[in-house]
Amino acid sequence: MDLDFSPVWESWRALASGTAVTVEVTAAALLLGCVLGLLVGLGRLSPQRRIIYAICTSYLTIIRGTPLLVQLFILFFGLPHFGILLPAFVCGILGLGIYSGAYISEIVRGSIQSIEKGQMEAARSLGLSYRLAMRKVVLPQAFVRMIPALGNEFIALIKNSALVSLLTIADVMHEGEKIISVSYRSLEVYLAIAVIYLVLTGATTMILRRTEKALRADGRV
């Protein structure tokens, strides 16, 4: 078997610009996912606020229970039926962000619930409102505990972003497909793409590990 990587080298510019698109889509989706995840996670902490709780739980159930690809296609091919025509790029970010938000919300909820009840009680006893206590006391501690699980989620999101190539977004996967269609060197191109994803996920892991280490320094828990 002879491997010929020359098509990969020759089109490195396309792969590089595809990688940039992948990073952009993922980063924007990550931001959206984190914001959604935080709101939904907090919303599911107080079942006594029934409407908010019901909305958050429905979101979680629907998004976690259906394939990401189907969700992306509904956004991309389905919304135009209602006169909503979003650019592919926006569909990709929305789809990935909404999907990721569901999983992040469970990470948020779990880590908040893992903080000892006494922390909230001590903060409330000083006169802090629920919101203030959450923001100043509980969330900063919960955040440190979220990091390992968030790392997994970020990595999953980076890999899942390959699906947006099916929405005509020119991400690294899409650029790869184009190279294959003219060179027929599928194995080499897919290997190159795999390496690129590996570098992206590896870098993410490293950044998060450092962040966690820094946050856990000085005898803080």
Binding site: A122, R124, G127, L128, S129, Y130, L132, Q141, V221
Partner: protein, 257 residues
Amino acid sequence: MSQSIIEVKGLSKSFGSHRVLQGIDFTVEPSQVVVVIGPSGSGKSTFLRCLNGLETAEAGSIRVCGHALVEQGKMIAEDKLDALRSEVGMVFQSFNLFPHLTVLDNITLAPQALRHTPRKQAEEEGRLLLKKVGLEHKADVYPGTLSGGQKQRVAIARALAMQPQLMLFDEPTSALDPELVGEVLQVMQTLASEGMTMLIVTHEMGFAREVADVVVVMDHGMIVEAGAPAQIFTAPKEARTRSFLQTLLSREASHGA
């Protein structure tokens, strides 16, 4: 007419079918030090936690620092509750210091967030409070590096930072190694001598005898008897008080204390 700091009437509460508090009537006057004792499961801690709204009452009324907290079994609105809580200091058995903040930041958090005290002023006041509890040299460390006794002293300083009119202590020394109990009790004793109104749930009978103005004995969610420590410890009226003190004494004897 001087106003009571705590006024409780007919306070009742259940956890499921278990009635933890059964119609408690109780008052604390300004500058009084009241110690609540009683067997475990008697409702002491629940009672204390009702007084700053950490537990919700089901029936009765509670007035704290001149404000209604519970009226005919109904708790006041959340925002009023927050304001009231800032006037009542609470010290927990498990300290509950904020581990992500330095000792000084633990103390300055609430004054800065709630009273909008400028950072510099809050820190100056915080250092004074740390000095008061003998820990000014620990201002910049994180709570994780402190001993239990030191943690509890920081927790007291943290509560004092809001300049409360009343301090509640929920078994403040029960989680401490025996040799660390003294330093915490000493801080509490100083507070009492300065005229702070204090309500303390504890098993430290020596402290109760020495510092308390009133000792309250609770059992099965009721106040069995209340009186001056000399009377409660030497001439208790109620059989239940006698049997409780008896078990304590025999336990202390068997521990060689």
